[in-house]
Each structure stands twice: as structure tokens, then as C-alpha cells.
Subunit: 528 residues, 2 copies
């Protein structure tokens, strides 16, 4: 009893307060523990709990914190019961009916550090670790996480703080060990539709023999993620053992990474960042690198596309971001390289899972009609990854990658991976409902808005409808005649079709002008 | 359909998505709308909603936003149902079984302003109004409110912004009109145990004939609020009509203000501030003044106690806070005066509802044993309130107040108010379990820690156990002998008793030294 005396009047409650019966409430309160007490529960009244109070629930050997919701329906929890939402019940680990004690809880100890951050202070390594531990243990409410993120975003984290945040997110989750000295990965910071290079880099690199166990996310705000696109061709939901075996045999995979408990704090923070629209570079670097380190990567290539409608709009921003990736990568023990790429328009032709998978297969099959920009970019990235191999001379990666692609070895490797993951028996096809958007005048396509095109593809139904999306028939620099199709939209559902069409008519996302701007070809902005 | 095209792909969902049956879920998610969808609901899967997603629910003529919780128990919501938590169901205003449509929702429009505040910008009057309206309409999630509060607290709000926040909190709630030109009130910013002056100021001022319809809160973090203490003597939960009638007849009341919808945005923000430990002066000023204006006050006296263990620790802080109160008060149309008072130790002897009520009645009864400091402070405050009366000459308020008290008219008024509110038939008594903390040496009491003493009273059971608390037998400046009692702790429950005692033994909160510091009596710090 002595140990807790300094933290509220919790301990004595158990002595005189009635115990409550534990009940599981089948509500998934995603990574926030929620407890349910009936409004007429004697304890609720006696303790003066308030809605949103943080309460501490204890039973023999167990203790969790939860946010209180007050219940008026005895069907949910009776007046002698204490309900816990799914994640809370699971974490608590006791059976229904267990007698539990309930008391006021102090905020998690690390909230002191959050308050210091709110006051504009720089935090230390231990602070970040304490915060990450409390978040991983579901001790933070959504409000408290929002406070941490807003406070960090507003005064900014310096690069040491970003490093410590990254480390602490790795430490508080599982970490894969592939038991090899070189485990490669690549990652694009996102924002460019159609940019499906991973599905080319993985088979090329794996065909070379380098280990590249790539796990990806599904699309959240984009029209397709690598996992969504690969799913057109193969099963992507693999259990950890199957995945491990497959990677040993084939040196690579293209799987969904959703089930592993890698850097779980990152997932939790993202679930708060996204609805709040918080988007800081520090959080992005910590998020990407913590996931990669936890996944066991030793060598990582980061792709930062730059363009007026990309996530990074100016070269100076891209360079600053590169330094930040390098700093954190170096200190966390990753061999990390950054390439800055052309993000001025979508890459490839298709936008949406089926159309992007088609582009990828065209490149692998050395189809002369394959989109040249996607092929070129994938070779460049694959080449840089191959140069992680000490036996590959600097500058020779590109030629090796091209050789692997042109010889058909990349295609063979992709087929092997598809078979191993489980070939999709009935691959979906492009959506049957189609319309085209045409050029309003003669001239050249001078700009394609990444954001608008991604939006059209989503409105058309991607990524939920795999066949929905946009097929780009013209790219920047192409001459066009008035009335000539610029792109084709595919949908599977009539309402999506109508909705995307009326949107495109208001803003096609394309700019057509009489002449190309003079500086378009000045690629010096994008160092190879 | 056209109007909504720019806000996500929401509108077309109604066309092809199945409608769901509305269900009331008896969970009080205090001012946050929560919606419950079954995990196997076709819509949930098709739309790719995520836990914590903000969704929009529509039915004929109605539309609300809610945060999504995912349900695994068909007893809570079936797969063709959409559940709404109590506040959401009530706000939506449709009956169970109504067919509703569900779609992704954009964040509330005013979140743009919150994002600008996160970026360090100054907001305008319209921004605060938009934010307050969205909060009042339950469009903000707890995360979003936390983002607003942390962002505001971190870069700070300037005084115009605090004024606009205050105005917007008044505008978005009900506003009482007492139909009299002078409606007085007093308010202490808090932090000083035992400081129960309102229960003296109200009868004195009301006996003079000035209208002072005082509503108070219950204790949240302190051992007693005015409502808790008054409840020892009388009923404090009055319905609005009864309260209005009572005030007309008796010119004053001492009631709980909890049920009125005055500045509801303030209540909502406080429910987020408190668990986060956000405590900014700007929020405090906006909170206090919005409530007072909404309650119909025209003249307000603010008490700012200063002392090393008070909320305001330095005179320069107190002066800055006074300017801020004056600025906002003047611009919002309040006649506002600020007094800075001695907050270096608790006021009166009792801490806890029963003991504080005893002190108050001793003063009213002109008991020679009544605590002099409480009497003195109450007279000073009452005098200042009386000087709001244009017929009272500046400087004469104190004498009038003293006259009202000494003549027994204040006691008569208090008795009348108690009877009118409903006398407590069985007034609780001081807790039977008692122990005393004694002086460790001969000397003087040189300091009493407000925070520690409040803590002891809470540990002993206050305010939940009305008779629990602390009775101060010595105050600062009193000579003491070793072993002489400094204070007595009352508890009603054995566990509380033990817990408070072991806490007191580690830290009594009293400092006893051989001599008083020379500057103790230098009261020049506290201008009258």
C-alpha cells in the first residue's frame, strides 16, 4: 500500500468501495481503453467520477487505466458491473465476472513530459521512451495523444528529439531479425499516384539474391497502396511463419504488413494524426524509420518525390528532409540512402489497383508499350538498392537492374513470389463503366495535378473497387489536339461513375497550353 | 447533390449504399458524439471506415457528425444498424428504426482555424465563433478539442483572442436576463482551502437589497466547493423556475449551477483541459467571464489570492491577470473589479463541507470564536460588492457590510435563503474518526501549505464525505509548543482515516520555526 500513497487516493478505495463484476463490452475503441459504469452504480456516485475521467481498474495482479463512459442501459452494464471495451478487456487479461476495484487514476506519469513540451521545452531520450511506453500500454487517452502530437508539432522537434522518438517507437514493439547482414528495403514518402515501383524493385533485387522482405500498407488516403495493388495478383495477408519461410526461399515478398506488432506506437499516433490533419516532417521520419528498423531492415532507400503538387514542393525542403532522414538513419544504425525524384506528375499510366498492376506487369514482361517513366524510375531505384551489395561497384547497379529486367529474371521472380503468396484465382479487371476526359484545345499537356488525379481515382471507387481508377493516356509534354482523350476513368458502380464524371468536368486536373514551359526539361533539379 | 461535391465522396453513398436502422445506445459519451457500427456491417467494410473515423450520419432533414467505434457484439448493434451514443442520439432527434445514411465526414470546417493556430497564427473573432459553434454542436472529437486547447495554450492567446473566445462561448449558450440593471456576483479564482466567503458575501449583499443570484460549482479538485458546503445546510439543486422565484423574493441564493446551459462550450473545454492538466490564464479568464455574463451578471468582483502555494504565486502575475480580467470584462460589458488578496495560507479554520459551513455560521452568528480572517475577508469583499451600488459612497461599503453582519441581518437573510432552498433536515456532523497533528518543536507556525492541506482533507474523504476534512487549530504567526496540536483531521471511513494519517506523518504541510520571518506582516503586497 505504501508505494502508491503518492498517487491519489486510489489505494484505500478498494478497502471500503464495493467491488464490481468485470464485463466484456464488445466495442472496439481502437487503442484507447474505455470503461463503462452504470450511472446508478454506487461507486460512480460515491467517487464523483466524471465522464471522461481517467480511472484505474485493478484485480489480483492486474491494473489498467481507462477513460470512463457512463451507461444508462443496464443491458450494457448492470449497476454492479464494470464494462471494458475490447482492447481494454484483452489487455486486462481477466475473465468476465472477476471482481475488480475501481479508483480515480492519475494521468500517466509521462504526461509531465508532454506538459513540458507544451511549455516549449526540449525533451530528453528518457522522456520519449516513457511516453512511448505509456502509449504502447494504452495508458494515453486520445486527448492525451493529441496533446503530445500538437505540442510536438507546434514547437517542432529537433533532430535529436526525432531520433529519440524513433528509437522509442522501435523499443516498444516487436523487432524482426532476419539473421542476415543485409536486409534491404525501399520506401517512398508518398503523394504520387501510380508510383508502384516497389512491385518492380522487389523482384529485381530478389532476383539478384539480395534479401528484400517488403511489407506495405493499404491505401489510406491514396487510390492504391502497394498491398492493394499486389492483391490484384496474389494473396497479401500471410501469417508470420508463412511469410518468413517464403522470404527465405524467394529472397523477397510483397505482403501486407498490417498484422505485425512492429512499432505499434506509430500506428496509434497515426490514428490520431490523421483525423487531426497533423503532418510534420519529424513525425514522418520517425514513423517511416521506426517501422523499417522494427521490420529488421539494415539498408534502406528513401524516395522523396518533389513537385508543385507532391508532398514536398521545393528542392530546398527535399534537401532538408534528406538530411533529417540521414541523421536519424545513421544514429539508429540503418544504412540509409535518399534519392530525390521527379514528382511533377503521376508515374506510369494507371491509377488504382488493377490499372497499376497492369503497368507493373507490362514493365516486367518487357512489353514495348510499358510506361517508360515507371520502368525508368524502378530501374534507377533498384540500381541504387543493388549498390548496397558490397560486391556491386558504385554506378553499376542500374545496368545490373536493367539486365535482370530485360533477361526476364525479374518476371520469373515475380511469378514465383505470386505463386508462393497464393495466386489470385480470379484477378479483377478494369471497371466496366468508363468515360474519357478530352483536351479542351490544341497544344501540349503542361501539367497534371497529382492531388486531383488521385481524387478522381478515389471518387471512381479506388481502392475499394479494385478495377476503379484512372488510365492516363497523355502525360506532361505530350502534344494533344482538341477533343483528343487525356485520360479514361474506370468505375464499377454507377453512382461512383456519375460522381467522378461530374467532378472531372469541373476540374480535370490537366493543364493544356499552346507551348511547353521552357524549363520543363531542366532535370538538374533531380540529382540521380 | 452538387453542393456537397467538394466534400469527400459522401453524397453518392446514399445512392448505392444500404441504409441502416438507427439505434439508441445507452452510453453517455459526454459531449462527444460516438457512432457504433458492427464490424460485419456491409457498409463498414465497403467504405473502408476506420476506428476513430469521423462519419456523417444523415436522415431526412437531419445530419450529425460522430466518431466511429466498431462493435463486435450484435447485442449492441446488429449488422444492419447504426448505433448512436446518448448525446448523439438526442442531438440527431430521430426515433429508433429511422433509416439513416452513413458516409465519411470531413473534419469540422473550423478545424482549419485550429490548424492555423497550431502553425502559430493569431485567429480572428469569426474563427473563435466558428470553433465555439462547432464545439457546441458536438462536431469536435475529444482529439480535436485537445488540439485546439494545446495549440492555444502553447503559442498563447493574446488579449483580443481571449475576448473573442469569451464572447463566442457566451453567444453559443443560453443567457439569463434578470431584468434588473444591477446583478452582482463575486468569484474567486480558487486554490485556497477554507475560503468560503461567498456564503457570507451573498447574505450581506442580499440583505442590503442588491441582487446577487449566486450559483456555484461542486468541488472538482478541491476538498469543498460552495455548492458542497451550502448543501450541508440546505438543498442546492433547484429547478430554474424555483430558483428565479426565490431570487426575486430574497435577492440572493446559494445554489448549484450545474443544470443550466450557460456557456456550454466552457464546460466541454474544461472536460478536456482538466484531464490534460492544461491551465492557462487565458482559458481561465474566458471560462470565468463567459459563465458570469451568461448567468446575467452585470457587476462582478474577482478575488485573486496570491501566495507561494496559491494558484498565483507572485504579485506581478496577479497584476497581469488583473489587467487581463479588466480588459475582457470592459469589452464584454461587465462592470468588473479585481481584488488581490492574501493567499499565503488557508482562510478560516475548517477545510471540508461541514467544517467550512460551521465557520460560516459562526461568522454570521457573530460568535466571538468565529475565525477572524474569514470574517475580515468576507467583509472586505462584501464591502466592495456593495460599492457597486451607485448610492454607496466609495470606501463606505466595508462599514455597511459590517453593520449588516453585526446587526444580525446577514444571519436572518441566510436563514431565509436556507428555508427557501429547503433546509437540510439532518445536517451532517464532523467525521467521528479523528486524529491530531502536533508541533514538532517550540516556535511559530511560519507557513501552511495550501496544497498539502487541501490534499489531506481530500484524502480524509472530503468532499464526498461531508463531515471529512481538516480543522486548523493554529494559523501562521501563532506561537506553538512542542506536542501542541496544529490541526485535527476528521474522517468518516476507517480507510480514509488511515490513509490521511500516514500521509500527514510524512508531510504535515506546516512549517514551525524558532522565529517568524521579518517580512510576514508586510501586507503592503495586498492592496485593499
Amino acid at each position: 500500500m505504501k508505494k502508491k500513497q503518492s498517487s491519489s487516493k486510489a489505494p484505500q478505495n478498494g478497502v471500503h468501495a464495493p467491488r464490481l463484476k468485470l464485463r466484456r463490452v464488445g466495442i472496439d475503441t481502437y487503442r484507447e481503453n474505455v470503461a463503462y459504469l452504470h450511472r446508478d452504480c454506487a461507486l460512480y456516485r460515491a467517487e464523483g467520477f466524471q465522464a471522461l475521467s481517467k480511472i484505474e481498474i485493478t484485480a489480483d495482479g492486474g491494473r489498467i487505466l481507462a477513460v470512463l463512459n457512463v451507461v444508462d442501459d443496464p443491458g450494457l452494464v448492470a449497476i454492479d458491473e464494470l464494462g471494458l471495451s475490447e482492447p481494454a478487456f484483452e489487455q486486462f487479461g481477466h475473465t468476465e465476472g472477476t471482481r475488480v476495484r475501481v479508483a480515480h487514476a492519475e494521468p500517466p506519469v509521462s504526461m509531465d513530459a508532454v506538459r513540458r513540451k507544451m511549455a516549449g521545452e526540449r525533451l530528453g531520450r528518457e522522456d520519449f521512451l516513457a511516453i512511448a511506453r505509456d502509449i504502447a500500454d494504452n495508458r494515453y487517452s486520445k486527448m492525451e495523444m493529441a496533446a503530445f502530437l500538437v505540442a510536438s508539432g507546434q514547437t517542432g522537434l529537433d533532430r535529436d528529439e526525432i531520433l529519440w522518438l524513433t528509437e522509442s517507437m522501435v523499443t516498444t514493439g516487436d523487432r524482426l531479425d532476419w539473421e542476415e547482414p543485409l536486409v534491404a528495403d525501399k520506401h517512398c514518402i508518398g503523394g504520387i499516384p501510380g508510383n508502384r515501383t516497389s512491385m518492380l524493385v522487389v523482384p529485381i533485387v530478389a532476383a539478384h539474391g539480395m534479401l528484400i522482405p517488403k511489407t506495405s500498407s493499404r491505401a489510406i488516403t491514396s487510390p492504391a497502396g502497394t498491398a492493394d495493388t499486389m492483391e490484384v495478383l496474389a494473396n497479401v495477408e500471410l501469417d508470420p511463419d508463412a511469410l518468413r519461410h517464403l522470404v527465405r526461399v524467394h529472397r523477397g515478398c510483397l505482403a501486407w504488413g498490417g498484422t505485425a506488432r512492429l512499432a505499434p506506437v506509430d500506428d496509434i499516433l497515426i490514428s490520431v494524426e490523421r483525423p487531426l490533419g497533423i503532418d510534420s516532417q519529424g513525425q514522418m521520419v520517425a514513423s517511416i524509420l521506426s517501422k523499417k528498423v522494427a521490420a529488421g531492415s539494415t539498408h534502406l532507400l528513401i524516395d522523396i518525390p518533389v513537385g508543385p503538387t507532391a508532398k514536398v514542393r521545393h528542392m530546398r525542403q527535399a534537401l532538408a528532409l534528406r538530411k533529417l532522414f540521414e541523421f536519424v538513419g545513421d544514429h539508429i544504425g540503418l544504412h540509409l540512402e535518399v534519392v530525390i525524384t521527379d514528382g511533377r506528375q503521376p508515374v506510369g499510366r494507371g491509377i488504382g489497383p488493377v490499372l497499376e498492376a497492369r503497368d507493373v506487369m507490362q514493365v516486367l514482361e518487357n512489353d514495348p508499350d510499358a510506361p517508360a517513366d515507371l520502368r525508368q524510375k524502378a530501374l534507377r531505384l533498384a540500381g541504387r538498392v543493388l549498390e548496397f551489395d558490397p560486391d556491386v561497384r558504385g554506378g553499376q547497379g542500374y545496368a545490373i537492374a536493367r539486365d535482370i529486367l530485360e533477361s526476364g529474371r525479374a518476371l520469373d521472380k515475380m511469378r514465383a513470389i505470386i505463386e508462393a503468396q497464393g495466386r489470385q484465382p480470379h484477378p479483377p479487371r478494369p471497371g466496366r463503366l468508363q468515360f474519357e476526359i478530352t483536351a479542351p484545345a490544341d497544344g501540349y499537356v503542361t501539367a497534371i495535378d497529382n492531388y486531383q488525379l488521385a481524387r478522381v481515382a478515389r471518387l471512381a471507387g479506388a481502392p475499394m473497387e479494385k478495377g476503379a481508377g484512372v488510365d492516363l493516356l497523355k502525360k506532361v509534354g505530350d502534344p494533344v489536339h482538341r477533343g483528343e482523350p487525356l485520360y479514361r476513368v474506370h468505375a464499377e458502380i454507377r453512382a461512383d461513375f456519375e460522381f467522378a464524371r461530374s467532378h472531372c468536368r469541373r476540374d480535370s486536373g490537366y493543364t493544356v497550353a499552346a507551348d511547353m514551359p521552357e524549363d520543363w526539361e531542366r532535370r538538374g533539379d533531380f540529382p540521380a
